[in-house]
Subunit: 212 residues, 2 copies
DNA sequence: GCATCTATCTGAACGATGTCAACATAATCT
DNA sequence: AGATTATGTTGACATCGTTCAGATAGATGC
């Protein structure tokens, strides 16, 4: 039974602690940064004891991975949205790249957590395999943009290169040494776009059409 | 006074603790990974008490930055070496990119520490400003490769794009999902090279010479 | 309805960590 | 030599990740 009618009074059993913990982690990440993201802080934020999370996650690491998974889902959604917006426009793939970088720049702590998790395990996990994943969207967009879908190796390389470049830009776009250049170019988005356009798949084909 | 004639007996004052701590951090990073890199572990490795480092570094963070700086120096050296090897070869810049990625892949823990430090402060610090830094070498190599040195913005963008791409490739080249592709291509280096060649500055100009 | 089983949460504890203050020792300066 | 400064050590504190024994509650079988 509840001890009081207080709206904040939780029953002994939380009901959906698992989800609540992930959301709490997300919140802490955004508001206080990665250093503040301790298991105990997450438990506090969710209003439970420090030991409670261990009934839902084996590790702090496993909690972080759950938070990261949530991030990958959102990234995938952002990419899907960017792709759906103007699928036939000339720079459609570039828009996807820009959306990727924007997501990372708007959620820096989340993004770093996502990649730390991936790098530690040396795999991006299931995030790439889902049909609706960002990776799949990128690959399909590259095909739609006229890449030779039959040369599977070249297609894979182009997709991976695009992903690598976007990741690199995402992590470095915030560096202070670029501030004046960004200002010159009219903000961060044009800067990011220009950077991405140095990569094959993102490249604007300026005067004439594509190579062959 | 020394308590024994033991060869390991150090005097009360270490002599060059600052350097010893950085080296100890480096060693721990390589042999036991980033999670094992605690201030106390570094002090233990150097044979001093846990509080001793505070006379040389304000923070754990500051120690890490010193380790990172050491890494940047080595990266710069690796790039300089790659550049000096065959400065006039057609793919000279690409060799630099490959050297960059190889360094990162051979010292993964160091490399991650370097970038974590940079990302936390949102700057690469002095590492880019030194005349002998890797960044400067890249920029010069790009000019030598025939870029329009007078268009400073485009030159800067090309350099930054190259750096971003190399960073992205460096962090992702180890992912397990690429293993079969790497095997197909004859190892990690050809794979890395192929990825980099999707980026403008690194691009092989296949049949005819450069654009104009 | 009631007893039991299982999932979930709490409390107290452990060792490790980053950091600090008080003190000890050595090198340096006068 | 004596004073000052740089560099160590010891011991303490709060916090952290983690574990374990016990409390509580929802589910299940009778």
């Amino acid at each position: 039974m509840r001890e009081t009618a207080n709206a904040l009074a939780r029953p002994y059993h939380h009901g959906d602690l698992s989800r609540a913990l992930v959301q709490a982690g997300r919140r802490i990440l955004e508001s206080e940064g990665p250093t503040a993201l301790s298991l105990r802080a997450v438990a506090r934020e969710a209003g439970v004891s420090p030991a409670a999370p261990y009934h839902h996650f084996k590790d702090k690491c496993e909690l972080l991975e759950a938070v990261a998974k949530e991030g990958w889902r959102e990234l995938g959604a952002a990419i899907a949205k960017a792709r759906a917006t103007a699928p036939d426009a000339p720079g459609a793939i570039t828009n996807i790249g820009v959306a990727y970088v924007c997501f990372a720049r708007e959620n820096p702590a989340l993004y770093r957590t996502m990649y730390k998790s991936a790098c530690d395990r040396e795999t991006m996990g299931d995030h790439t395999k889902d049909a609706d994943s960002g990776f799949s969207h990128v690959q399909e967009a590259i095909i739609e943009a006229g890449a030779d879908g039959s040369n599977s190796r070249e297609l894979a390389l182009a997709t991976i290169a695009a992903w690598c470049a976007a990741h690199g830009v995402a992590e470095m776009a915030g560096f202070k040494e670029f501030e004046s250049l960004k200002a010159e170019m009219g903000g961060e988005e044009p800067f990011v776009r220009a950077l991405l356009e140095h990569v094959g798949v993102f490249a604007r084909k300026p005067r004439r059409a594509a190579a062959e």
